[in-house]
Amino acid sequence: MRIRVEGVSKRFGKFHALKNVSLEVRDGEFFAILGPSGSGKTTLLRILAGFEFPDEGRIYFGDEDVTFKGPEERGAAMVFQNWALWPHMTVYENIAFGLKVRKLPKEVVDQKVRWALKLLGLEGLENRYPHQLSGGQQQRVALARALVVEPKVLLLDEPLSNLDARLRLKLRGELKKIQRELGITAIYVTHDQEEALAMADRLALINKGELVEVGTPEQIYRDPQHPFTAIFIGKTSTAKGRVVERGDGLARIAVGENIITAKAHGLNTERALVVFKSDLAKARPREGYSPLTGRVTVSMYMGSQVEVRMVPKGSEEELVFYLAEQEPPPPGSEVTVYLPVEGVHAYPL
């Protein structure tokens, strides 16, 4: 099912939760909505689910305008962050709920519940109550309950955030696999960029109620068109710079006394906001990398990496880099890091 959001705005009192958001989710796509907390991503999901109605704008499921349809009329099944399993119902009853509401014959309900139990590896647990399940099992029941009604779209609101890190990784893979097998359109809200990058076919970035950028994970990571995206995705550090030279999508930028090569994004000003992808920096020179020299303020050993905080020569802004295969340099010493072009992004300031 293709989903279209057209010019949606939503206010809560004086708070502008969403400002003129438009986007399109393709049929069968795993679409992630990524943003910091309070950015409006959950509001957008709730509007898609029909729990909130937009003040302006339209929502289309396929060609059907569902803007003001109630949640029960949309066929958009939701999986909540806390899973919202009904404690007074067994696993079976939880999963069968949506089918019984649709007044399907008993045999059909049973058949479909069995299918969902099998799909999610929940066989044998059907008579348990939610409190008798582990976190991972509860999560699976919530997913089974949503999938069993064969929804037009599956809406997921940070469904993995209540799980421990190991289980989260495991279920991340399972969820993606099931979505692909069933070919169902899924919209996944998260503030975890790694999760979004790993799972999504495409993702949207939202900040302060505004849609910032939409793209594939690779586009978003490698070629962020908007400084917010550049800063939000990955480990980053920013500085102000002066444009020395411009041309062909690249620019030479002075950061203090250092001159480095950066990807230029609509750079038409003298001054630039420079975003460094901190973990792309190297400790040794490489072909095409720009050197950046500065004085170390703090350095920390972090296992596979070393975190180095430094102030570039002739600058006052502290930058952070993560370097592999390196001893922590002592504070006060001079250090040079080497930056690839895709590790430095310049935006007009």
Binding site: F51, F53, E72, G75, A84, W86, P87, V101, V149
Partner: protein, 601 residues
């Protein structure tokens, strides 16, 4: 467009909003507002006569007299006119009750010491309400009596021939303080129990100990509970007629309004009664408005984010032990004694002087053998049976609407459904009388025609808040997502309510209904005013409920049968208290969840 779509979708939500709103506006807001109708042609100048406001106090606070070897210390209080008496008395009762209640709560919740459970038991005992009889026993124990009261008997056996007795306004203040302080206790306790252990542990970790923890951390955090309890005590004291009737002190606002219903004439007629109701209303609402920011029902929202981690109690030091046993314990014993005394009186042949005389079961027999007395029980049970289903439907609807904010105006319903707790029952009773008697004279809704109908209507309005609050708390502890996920799976709001909300909140609903029903059974203000309009207790077909019968027995009408009428009242009150104890136990121990205090405001 938005509104149209939403309105259509939320027909059920709209119904849930309208049911309690229409009821409360019709049977609470209108009646209370129509008190103002009674003010027509009233000359406010009358209120400034010495009878109402008297800046030259009459009488002596304490009188000491000697007759031979015997010394009489009579604590009377002074009379400064009806209105000032009421305001001063309620302020004093609130002050004393808050001091005692909050101290006991801090002591028992925060500290461990030998005998702690006894303290808790004693402090909880007066929560069992024995209308009128409690005040009567207070009078027997501590009241002024030429033959000596129980206290003076104890003093005499210790060798002091002195009679210390409370009478008049001082007696009212004493009886109300002893009866009401547990309300502050229980509210403070609930607030303290809601404090997460980490907050107290952090204070101790930083070096604070004992009293500093109490002063700097516990009391500020428990302040909403303390203020809620104090405000409730203030209102209860203002509207109480039990103690004034027993101590025969008529110069109080509550007594004057009560008396209006006896003859439909008070000293100043309808106008004066209406004016006194307005004063009582304003006097209740002003303190409420002052502490309002602490008193929101939203207070419970804090508790809903998972129950707080319980904290370890601290060891009580030597000074603390001394204070607990020498200061707090005597007060608790003094306050629990009347409650126990009610049971003693219930089994006594006679108790008018210092000590009860004779043991009998006769008082209980009379309850069942005297038709007029038994009628009260039948009436009460009938009224409760009619009121409870209504409270269930309306209370659940209101709680759901408020908790889920399903419609605009949910906030107003929040206020509306809590308001009956803050409006003195006598004002409600007087309002019903004026409103229904003028809107529907001669119809079944006219209290003079069918007081029973009006009683049921009034009980529903006045005691619904307990159910609303219980369900509201239950709903806050039930994530909204449980409903939303059902909707997203295709369930309509009706189905969601039936299959998800009701099963998840039925325990809270049941707990609320149990509380509402015991408060219906022990309701006084409306019962003894409107309830008196259907004939006196000697009439076997009167319309009065249990509390009305108890009051008439305390007032000792010519009744025959040989038994002391107050002892029969005590027998009835004992049964009432046992039911209350049972219900409170079931509601709080079996039905409520942790961190939820059902009897607090």
């Amino acid at each position: 467009m938005v509104e149209l779509g939403r309105r259509f979708r939320d027909r059920v939500a709209l119904a849930l909003f309208l049911l309690p709103t229409v009821y409360l506006v019709t049977f609470f807001v209108f009646p209370v507002a129509s008190v103002l109708l009674g003010l027509k042609d009233f000359d406010w100048g009358l209120l400034f006569s010495p009878f109402y406001f008297n800046l030259e106090p009459v009488g002596k606070m304490i009188e000491i007299r000697s007759f031979g070897p015997r010394t009489f210390v009579i604590v009377k209080g002074v009379d400064v006119g009806v209105v000032l008496n009421s305001l001063i008395n309620s302020a004093l009762v609130t002050l004393f009750a808050t001091l005692i209640g909050a101290s006991v709560a801090v002591l028992t919740a925060l500290f461990d010491f030998p005998g702690r459970r006894v303290f808790i038991f004693l402090a909880s005992l007066p929560l069992l309400v024995a209308p009128f009889v409690n005040a009567y026993v207070v009078k027997l124990l501590y009241g002024f009596n030429l033959q000596g009261n129980t206290i003076s008997f104890l003093l005499k056996s210790l060798g002091f021939d002195v009679v210390v007795g409370f009478t008049k306004l001082a007696g009212v203040t004493l009886a109300q303080t002893l009866a009401f302080f547990p309300i502050v206790y229980i509210n403070t306790l609930a607030a303290i129990m809601a404090i997460d252990a980490s907050l107290i542990e952090q204070a101790r970790n930083l070096g604070a100990r004992g009293f500093t923890v109490v002063r700097k951390v516990v009391l500020p955090l428990a302040m909403p509970g303390i203020l809620a309890g104090a405000t409730l005590v203030y209102i209860l004291s203002l509207e109480d007629v039990g103690a004034p009737i027993v101590f025969n002190f008529k110069n109080l606002v509550s007594y004057q309004v009560y008396e209006f219903f006896q003859e439909f004439t008070s000293i100043g007629g309808v106008g004066a009664a209406a004016a006194l109701c307005v004063i009582m209303l304003v006097a209740s609402l002003v303190p409420l408005a002052v502490v309002k920011k602490y008193l929101s029902l939203r207070y419970y929202a804090k508790l809903s984010r998972g129950a707080p981690r319980p904290f370890e109690r601290m060891r009580l030091g030597r000074v603390g032990m001394a204070a607990a046993y020498l200061l707090v314990l005597p007060v608790l014993v003094a306050a629990a004694a009347p409650q126990l005394g009610v049971f003693v009186l219930a089994f006594s042949e006679r108790w008018v002087g210092a000590l009860p005389q004779g043991f009998t079961l006769g008082n209980f027999e009379i309850i069942f053998s005297k038709p007029g007395v038994f009628r009260g029980i039948v009436n009460s049970l009938t009224y409760a049976a009619m009121a409870v289903p209504l409270i269930a439907v309306l209370g659940f609807s209101a709680a759901y609407t408020v908790a889920r904010e399903t419609v605009r105006g949910a906030g107003a319903l929040d206020l509306l459904s809590t308001a009956p707790l803050a409006v003195p029952g006598l004002v409600v009773a007087f309002g019903y009388f004026i409103f229904l008697h003028s809107v529907a004279p001669g119809s079944p809704l006219d209290p003079l025609t069918l007081p029973a109908a009006v009683l049921v209507i009034a009980y529903v309005a006045r005691k619904m808040p307990f159910t609303v609050r219980a369900v509201f708390t239950g709903l806050l502890q039930t994530p909204k997502e449980m409903e939303e996920v059902a909707e997203s799976l295709g369930a309509t709001r009706g189905t969601v309510l039936r299959k998800v909300v009701l099963p998840l909140t039925k325990r809270s609903l049941l707990a609320g209904l149990l509380l509402s029903s015991i408060y219906v059974l022990s309701e006084v203000s409306v019962s003894v005013t409107i309830g008196a309009l259907g004939g006196d207790v000697v009439d076997p077909n009167h319309a009065g409920p249990i509390t009305f019968v108890i009051m008439r027995l305390i007032q000792a009408p010519a009744f025959g049968g040989g038994a002391q009428p107050q002892a029969v009242a005590a027998a009835m009150a004992s049964i009432l208290m046992l039911i209350e104890a049972l219900v409170l136990f079931v509601a709080t121990n079996r039905l409520a969840r942790r961190g939820q205090s059902l009897i607090s405001v």
